[in-house]
Amino acid sequence: MRIALLADIHANREALEACLAHARSRGAGRFVFLGDYVGYGADPAWTVATVMAHVEQGAVAVLGNHDHAVADTSETMTEAARIAMQWTRGEIAAAARQFLAALPASAADEDRLYRHAAGTPPKRWTYVRDRDDARQSMGTSAARVTLMGHTHVPALFGQAASGKMDHLRPTSGVAVPLLPRRRWVAVLGSVGQPRDGNPAAAYALLDTATAEIVFERVPYDVDAAAAKIRRAGLPESLAARLARGR
């Protein structure tokens, strides 16, 4: 079975639609959403409704820090994120709020763990950016494969029984075997606001039969998504960064 893993959508409808279509064309039979459905982007209501519809059909969704901030105003954020969050709170209806508030911080699935970030969400959201971060994250769970988002930069960390850790910057479209004798942390990159210099939407496909993961990059209508952010009166920086992928 192929599982599509989507993180950090951030209310970017154009990017999510492109990734969902791409995943279906690749035979994805299951969808896992790894948090941060809202914030930054101009389509929070549609995005949450889409995730809810998938969850009704059996998809898994976990909580992200932006999703948590909808109800919890104590989440610390950058100025642009704070402004976007204020606007977002006015955009989404009660049912969507309830859905977000009820999301679990993590979900286990066979030897896999799905979560938005390392740390102890919703109290602490920690980035996994390097080997030390990955080692710490592995220390907090027994899962063989952990799949997460939060950094907006795709990365794959593998740990041998000896404790040694390797760090791969994935190449789009290349299948990487998650060797059985190792533990893995896959950081998926962002669907709706990539920050690794490549503006294409990022998500991944995990094939449970072959134990291979493919990090995918999908082009989408960046200009349309940016124009909506501007029309909504959100900070210009949130619109401009989409085209740069930074």
Binding site: K164, M165, D166
Partner: protein, 469 residues
């Protein structure tokens, strides 16, 4: 790990019937196997997992299990199947006929021409491997075999690195893994990302095969291995006074400490080995003895600045240094087309600073045998064409090593250009469209034939609106 019955002849494993043991090495054993319905001779490689074995054996086996199924083509053994670590780890692959280059050691030194031909074939195999994103990192006689077609086959990818997959070796071991006499300086220093490390190892092999001596001895200890960072090898001609300067030039260039001073790609190395007369000779070719001790010691304490790992992955590096053929039709006498060809070549050279250009002209020969007076005339024509090719290239102001000139004699220009491109691992052919439309309609365009069948990119250059004039 769970105890399991050891592999033994006669047992069946996942449909493979185990035959005799072929080889038992430090890290793995090789068994001959057969399977109903498969005619290809096969080997099963089984890692040694016993208590107290080298932990590198497992990691290197995992690497090979990852890399081999992703490789294709004639320069690697065909992958058949892999067995899981949970039950019995193994790799089944094609068994190649014949022996590795190790079997040739008693014959060393080999004749120069044979060393060059052998080196060109191994370099072609390395070029193919590098284009598939893999650096071998353990090129040595026992890891090189040949198909009956003559094509070289690289075996054993246990120390290799794939630039799109996790590098399990890099993190696992502090000491460099490889075969000490063949290991490139940057590899000794822990850099596993450099495709030109394989050119260094091939240089060691060629030095050994042409002189009978290894350039850096057989040192196994790290301190001794590091000597090659500052101590230059004895020039081959000190061992064999008749050593050809072109071959010394090529081998000593392979053995440069800084990868940036070696050939940019394995394909360019193969090109030099195939065209002895076109090798640009530098001070390396003339070197008669090692540098004085003082010079070497100064290098040692100056802390040799080794090139840092390239930012680009290996396949990117390969495509940045293409071999470009410009086919120049001098007989046509069309100055504007010749100028436009030059402009096109200039653009390509600008975009790929590591590129080299081979200027090719096909001297059309009738199929009728030539008598001796015509033969003389033919030689003059040949020389005249070379002069004209050099004249064409002069405005490009290329350093001598970056451009070569070839007059090929044949009745069939298209077939000749295609053969040349295949034999020399050419990446890009640039040629003019024949201006004379009557000739083209009668004979069929040479450029059309080349573009249709070329093993690489073809650019057909045509002056704007030439057809209407």
């Amino acid at each position: 790990m769970m105890a399991r019955p050891p592999i033994h002849p006669g047992m069946t494993l996942d449909g493979f019937v185990v035959g005799p043991l072929v080889h038992r090495g430090g890290m793995a054993s090789l068994w001959q196997v057969t399977r109903a319905g498969t005619d290809m001779p096969m080997l099963m490689k089984v890692p040694r997992l016993d208590e107290g074995e080298d932990p590198a054996a497992i990691v290197s086996f995992e690497m090979e299990q990852m890399i081999l199924p992703r490789l294709a083509g004639p320069h690697v053994p065909k992958f058949v199947a892999a067995g899981d670590f949970a039950t019995q780890p193994y790799i089944v692959m094609e068994r190649l006929p014949g022996a590795s280059l190790l079997a040739r050691l008693p014959e060393l030194p080999l004749p120069y021409a044979e060393v060059a031909a052998l080196g060109a074939r191994v370099a072609a195999a390395l070029d193919d491997l590098h284009r598939q994103h893999v650096v071998h990192l353990d090129v040595k006689p026992s890891n090189v075999m040949f198909r009956p077609t003559g094509k070289a086959v690289l075996i054993d990818f246990g120390l290799s690195r794939h630039d799109q997959l996790p590098d399990l070796m890099e993190e696992e071991f502090r000491l460099p893994y490889g075969t000490a006499p063949y290991m490139a300086p940057e590899q000794i220093m822990g850099n596993r990302r450099e495709p030109r490390s394989d050119l260094f190892a091939l240089g060691v092999l060629l030095y050994f095969f042409a002189t009978g001596k290894r350039p850096f001895g057989e040192a196994e200890r790290l301190r001794h291995m590091k000597r090659r960072l500052w101590r230059d090898p004895v020039p081959p001609r000190q061992a064999r006074p008749d050593f050809p300067p072109w071959l010394q030039e090529i081998i000593l260039r392979c053995l440069e400490v800084n990868p940036a001073w070696r050939h940019p790609t394995a394909a360019q190395l193969a090109f030099d080995l195939q065209h002895a007369d076109q090798v640009k000779l530098t001070a390396r070719a003339e070197r008669a003895r090692q540098d004085p001790w003082l010079t070497a010691l100064r290098r040692k304490y100056d802390s040799v600045a080794l090139a840092t790992p390239p930012a680009e992955p290996s396949a990117g590096q390969v495509t940045a240094a293409p071999i470009i053929v410009v086919a120049i039709d001098l007989a046509e006498g069309d100055e504007s087309l010749a100028a436009l060809l030059r402009v096109t070549a200039e653009h390509l050279l600008h975009a790929a600073p590591g590129a080299r250009i081979a200027c090719v002209n096909v001297l059309k020969q009738s199929r009728i045998a030539l008598d001796s007076s015509l033969d003389e005339e033919g030689r003059n024509k040949h020389v005249q064409r070379l002069v004209e090719l050099k004249h064409w290239a002069a405005p490009l102001r290329l350093a001598e090593g970056r451009v070569t000139f070839h007059v090929l004699e044949s009745p069939d220009p298209a077939a000749t250009i295609l053969d040349y491109a295949r034999a020399n691992h050419v990446d890009h052919i640039v040629m003019g469209a024949r201006a004379n439309s009557l000739m083209r309609s009668l004979l069929g365009g040479v450029s059309a034939a080349v573009a249709g069948q070329a093993p690489c990119t073809v650019t057909v250059v045509r002056p704007r609106n030439a057809a209407e004039r």
